[in-house]
């Protein structure tokens, strides 16, 4: 099962953190800091895997991928396959990219809830439920459409409708 998903930038600022088992805020911060410390010390051209047992306890692995200014980090246990999780990150990022068109760090920051929606479509309660980027997109689009429709006040502004029209 997947234990946590984190997105942080190269300066160590958290951009997204989702833990699939409840942890108190302080503990979450500690873990995020721990992860960042390890990520920083990684040279280039090394593997994307880190043995995370010293941070997350027994039976935990960590896979990260570095995109521009962001690190995408997935923490999971032995029931997942490292390479596959690496591709899961790829699916996640591809989906974000399709959703935001050339996704950048700020998209993740400002569309916080949308990123969560995408993630929720992919990973549910720590299990990977959907791995098809287009299926995820379909679901997310539908959610946005219905959200927009169900709201008297138009809360989905240009930005969100922007990508739909494109």
């Amino acid at each position: 099962m997947i234990k946590a998903v984190m997105v942080m930038n190269t300066q160590g600022k958290t951009r997204l953190a989702k833990f699939y088992e409840y942890l108190p805020v302080e503990k979450q911060q500690e873990l995020i800091r721990g992860v960042f410390a390890v990520l920083c010390s990684r040279a280039e051209n090394v593997s994307n895997f880190i043995d995370a047992e010293s941070i997350f306890g027994p039976d935990s692995r960590l896979v990260y991928k570095h995109f521009a200014t962001l690190y995408f980090v997935f923490v999971f246990d032995s029931s997942e396959n490292e390479l596959a999780v690496l591709d899961l990150i790829q699916v996640f990022v591809e989906t974000l990219d399709r959703c935001f068109k050339n996704v950048c760090e700020l998209d993740v920051v400002f569309n916080y809830s949308k990123v969560h929606t995408i993630l929720d479509e992919m990973i549910f309660g720590g299990q990977v439920v959907e791995t098809s980027s287009s299926e995820i997109m379909k679901a997310v689009e539908e959610i946005s459409k219905l959200e927009a429709a169900s709201n008297a006040i138009t809360l989905i502004p240009k930005s969100a409708s922007g990508w739909r029209s494109r």
């Binding site: 600022k13 958290t14 997204l16 953190a17 409840y22 805020v25 911060q29 040279a43 051209n45 090394v46 593997s47 994307n48 895997f49 880190i50 043995d51 047992e53 010293s54 029931s79 396959n81 490292e82 390479l83 596959a84 690496l86 935001f100 068109k101 998209d107 920051v109 400002f110 916080y112 809830s113 969560h116 929606t117 929720d120 479509e121 549910f124 309660g125 299990q127 990977v128 439920v129 959907e130 791995t131 098809s132 287009s134 299926e135 679901a139 539908e142 959610i143 219905l146 959200e147 927009a148 169900s150 709201n151 006040i153 809360l155 989905i156 502004p157 240009k158 930005s159 969100a160 922007g162």
Partner: protein, 959 residues
């Protein structure tokens, strides 16, 4: 979507994010966030906030909390938002509560009702949002409240809802299996769902269920295989293709499930061979995801009943991984190799170079993984190289977690495969020095026991040489500043026991050193206690030898300090020392005979020495002892059993008596050693020797000779020494006790208390390690694990006699030696019990690998040959011979040249070097001097000279 104006959050939020992004320090960031919290606190409690504003506040709260600040003041508002009618607001509310709250939070009660309502909603998005919250926020008590709705949703027309309902049910199962046990069949049903997404999601819970209970899902093998086949044949919608692979994630999950189902099940595995083979062929090894599937195939192949063709494909895939430039693939290759060597150990050989490359890679992850692999493939032939490498690495890292892990692995390997005791001591010294207090205390105890017991052969010179060299090395190491406590304890103990044994050092020199230790580490009471006891031993030996004892002035002052110590333990020890010094030579000798820490101590379980006393008491009118079975309402207070037996019987209390031997040990001992050992597991022969026979220490009572208490120690793990491996490895019953006593070698070197502890520890250790070790050993070396575990006799005898012809003799000679020693050396039946109840069937099935292995490594071969003969019988050797068409001697030369041809690469050289060294060391250890000389000559003749850094060891032992 470029410009920031396009984002729908307000300017404020945008500014917040910006300023946090620009913050130079954590303190600055904290200040900004705290300011934001103040603003939010104020705004959020204002009346009549528009929904849209409120939503933004909540998102900002989530953001603040993500940055690590407390946002609990806003939780209630998030909860309120979930009640909202607007979908967007409701979803935001649910998002916030799932991030904020945990299942036991007080506010949950306010949400359950909403969730119940929302699960019934017509809008499937509301249902999805609610299911999301269900996953995160429903605990065991609230499951029944939502369970019916969730089950209903399993048949929802929308696949997104079905999918999530399945996962919610899975979550319930994880949290409280009993609450949904009647619904488990739903997972099976959903496997046939029309939607591949739902089917794929269903694999997650099924995987978990199958992990827990394989057998009830065997019937699904066919279904899984056919699903996998369809997936691999691209029958799923195109949308599931990923980088030209058909639904790779589903394939991976299915392969994982098949690996579980086919493990050890030939019939089930046979169904899988075709499809797994197909996937091997179809996998596109150029893409990352293709390799992920390939890797999963390898895992599957190495888990199911072996199939030669598939193993071959797996080996191919592994070599592709290892040859790749990508670190990720190398990592996966190393991992896969670790899995595959369990079934076909020979494949490791062809990848030696790749493995060594990975070991030297700058990538830490890869390095660690490789050490894990090495750890898995360690055998007696390569243990020195591997452990040396591990120690070097251990010294180079700072991470305590990994240091501990590696240290414990070093220790484990060294204990298991040590080619010589001397090497073991040196290795332990290094581990202690560098990993210090990260090492488990029981390791120290094992080391002390090793030094005390020596080789376990009747070769006292070698033993004493070992001890002298240990003493030398410790005296040398004592010069270093800041040694770890555990190590100091070992040093003190060894110096006390053997410091003056060889006459090289005077008593005053050793005592001076011990006093130095006690002073230098005055904060460490355990070390001080060890030091005092060591002093006592030294003085006792002196007195017993008839020489006059002069206490050093610094020692005297130390004693004065300890006599007034706050620690009762230290005080007691100091008083005891005083008392011992005041006694005459004869008394001292019987209290503290020199080098008797390994003497057998017989424990009279029946306490027959008390018979007379009991008789007297009964005659005087005391109540007789009533056996447990005849009592009712017994006082289950084990503490009482600490009291002396006579006391107990005269009171006529009802005790829970003697059914568990380990308790007996524990309970009987404390009164003997009194308070002195409360905290400190200090080994002292004095207690040991005295306390067992007499039951009271300080009084030094005189009935020592008449008693025959027998201490039961059959749980004690014994790694060295005479191979008196106690048959009862489990926490066995009293029945096995009798046989045990005869052969169990008691290490009388510890205090009674520490021994008890050690008994437990080693027992625990045994329980912990054995399954793993056994599995490892069984798969790597087949039956050989048994002998390899006991280097004491195992290797020494046969090790480097590389002629095949000798094989049949070798085991015999070892048998002879064994029988001479009258210990049930060879095949203690219990060892076989560990993992493989049927050796007979097992050994042959593993043989081929070992034989192949032997081709590459001369030493193992002989060792393994020996094992065959000891396990399966001598009939095996013709088999082995049959495999080689060459003459036996010829084979060996050939092997060596093979290895030598690999010498061009430095790492390999190193490896080889290690092997040779092992050989030499081992050969030198033979009990028969002539034999070992001969073997040594042979080794040299084969062109491998011991260029190793420690030929001294070898010289030493040969004398």
């Amino acid at each position: 979507m470029g410009s920031q104006g396009g984002f729908y959050q307000s300017k404020e939020f945008l500014d917040l994010v910006k300023s946090i992004g620009e913050a130079r320090s954590k303190a600055e960031e904290d200040r900004i966030v705290l300011g934001e919290i103040d603003t939010l606190k104020r705004r959020i409690s204002e009346p009549d906030i528009p929904k849209r504003k409120m939503k933004e506040y909540i998102i900002r709260l989530v953001y603040v909390e993500m940055l690590g600040h407390d946002a609990s003041f806003g939780y209630i508002h998030a909860v309120k938002m979930t009640h909202d009618d607007s979908l967007l607001v409701k979803r935001t509310g649910y998002l916030a509560v799932t991030l904020f709250l945990n299942e036991d939070h007080d506010l949950i009660i306010l949400i359950v009702n909403t969730i119940q309502k929302d699960l019934k909603s017509d809008n499937y998005l509301v249902v999805c949002a609610a299911l999301n919250a269900v996953c995160k926020l429903i605990n065991e008590e609230t499951i029944p409240a939502v369970l019916p709705q969730v089950v209903e949703l399993l048949a929802h027309p929308k696949e997104a809802v079905r999918k999530k309902a399945i996962m919610a049910l899975h979550r319930f199962y994880q949290k409280s299996p009993s609450s949904v046990s009647h619904l488990v069949s739903n997972f099976r049903k959903r496997l046939c769902d029309n939607d591949p997404g739902v089917m794929g999601a269903t694999l997650c819970p099924l995987f978990d269920l199958i992990t827990i209970d394989v057998n009830s899902y065997k019937d699904l093998v066919i279904s899984f295989v056919s699903i996998l086949k369809q997936v691999a044949e691209r029958r799923l919608p195109k949308a599931y293709d990923y980088h030209q692979m058909p639904a790779p994630f589903i394939q991976i999950k299915l392969l994982k499930i098949l690996a579980l189902l086919g493990s050890g099940d030939k019939q089930a595995s046979e169904n899988m061979y075709t499809v797994v083979g197909d996937i091997f062929r179809k996998c596109d090894s150029s893409s990352n995801i293709g390799n992920a599937v390939l890797y999963e195939c390898i895992c599957c192949v190495s888990s199911i009943y072996p199939n030669p063709k598939l193993l071959e494909s797996a080996a191919d895939a592994i070599s592709r991984f290892l040859k790749s430039d990508s670190h990720n693939l190398k990592y996966m290759g190393i991992d896969a190799l670790g899995r595959l060597i369990k079934i076909s150990p020979e494949i490791a050989e062809q990848h030696q170079l790749a493995v060594i490359d990975c070991l030297e890679d700058p990538d830490d992850t890869l390095k660690r993984k490789t050490f894990e692999l090495l750890y898995k493939m360690t055998k007696s032939t390569n243990v020195e190289v591997i452990v040396d490498r591990m120690i070097d690495y251990m010294i180079s890292i700072n991470d305590n977690h990994f240091k501990t892990e590696i240290a414990s692995r070093c220790v484990e390997l060294a204990e298991q495969f040590a080619p010589s005791n001397q090497w073991f001591i040196q290795t332990m010294n290094k581990v202690f020095e560098h990993a210090g207090d990260l090492v488990n205390i029981k390791v120290a105890h094992n080391l002390m026991r090793l030094i005390a017991e020596g080789f376990g052969e009747d070769d006292d010179t070698a033993d004493s040489q070992l001890r002298s060299s240990a003493v030398d090395s410790y005296l040398h190491i004592l010069g270093e500043p800041k040694l770890p406590s555990v190590f100091l304890q070992v040093i003190c103990w060894v110096l006390g026991e053997y410091g003056t044994a060889d006459g090289k050092y005077s008593a005053s020199f050793i005592t001076g050193k011990l006093c130095d230790v006690a002073e230098a580490y005055s904060n460490d009471e355990t070390v001080k206690a060890y030091a005092v006891t060591a002093l006592m031993k030294i003085y006792a030996f002196e007195i017993a030898a008839g020489s006059k004892v002069d206490m050093l002035p610094e020692c005297q002052s130390l004693m004065e300090e300890f006599l007034a110590s706050h620690s009762t333990d230290l005080q007691q020890r100091a008083y005891e020392l005083q008392a011992v010094i005041g006694l005459d030579a004869h008394a001292v000798e019987s209290i503290m005979p020199s080098d008797a820490s390994c003497e057998d101590i017989e424990v009279d379980k029946a306490l027959s020495f008390l018979n007379g006393y009991i008789q007297d008491s009964i005659e005087k009118g005391a109540q007789p002892y009533i056996p447990e079975s005849e009592r009712s309402g017994m006082l289950n207070i084990s503490k009482f059993r600490n009291q002396d037996h006579h006391e107990a019987s005269s009171h006529g209390l009802r005790f829970e008596a003697y059914e568990l031997p380990k308790q007996t040990v524990q309970s009987r001992i404390p009164p003997a050693s009194l308070a002195s050992t409360e905290l400190v597991p200090v080994p002292e022969p004095m207690y040991a020797r005295e306390s067992y026979p007499t039951t009271t220490v300080s009084s030094a009572s005189s009935d020592a000779g008449s008693t025959e208490l027998k201490l039961r120690l059959d749980g004690v793990q014994k790694k060295w020494g005479r191979q008196t491996h106690s048959p009862a490895t489990s926490t066995s019953s009293t029945t096995s006790q009798k046989t045990v006593n005869g052969i169990t070698q008691v290490d009388g070197s510890n205090t009674s208390n520490s021994r008890t502890r050690e008994t437990y520890e080693s027992r625990k250790q045994q329980v912990e390690i054995t399954p793993e070790k056994q599995k490892l050993a069984a798969s790597l070396f087949g039956g050989s694990s048994k002998t390899e575990k006991k280097p004491a006799t195992g290797h020494k005898i046969s090790k480097s006699s590389s002629y095949m012809v000798e094989k049949s003799h070798v085991p015999k000679s070892s048998m002879e030696i064994a029988s001479e020693k009258k210990a049930p050396i060879q095949q203690p039946p219990d060892l076989l019990d560990f993992g493989e109840p049927t050796i007979q069937s097992n050994a042959p099935s593993i043989d081929p690998f070992k034989e192949l292995e032997g081709l590459l490594e001369p030493t193992t071969e002989v060792a393994s040959a020996k094992n065959h003969s000891s396990t399966a019988a001598a009939t095996k050797s013709p088999d082995i011979m049959g495999l080689y068409t060459d003459t036996p001697a010829g084979i060996h030369n050939k092997d060596d040249s093979d290895i030598l041809s690999g010498l061009s690469n430095p790492p390999v050289t190193h490896m080889l070097d290690g092997t040779t060294r092992t050989q030499v060391a081992q050969s030198s250890k033979g009990p028969n001097l002539k034999d070992s000389l001969q073997k040594d000559a042979l080794v040299r003749q084969m062109g491998v000279t011991p260029s190793s850094p420690n030929p001294i060891l070898f010289k030493d032992l040969l004398g």
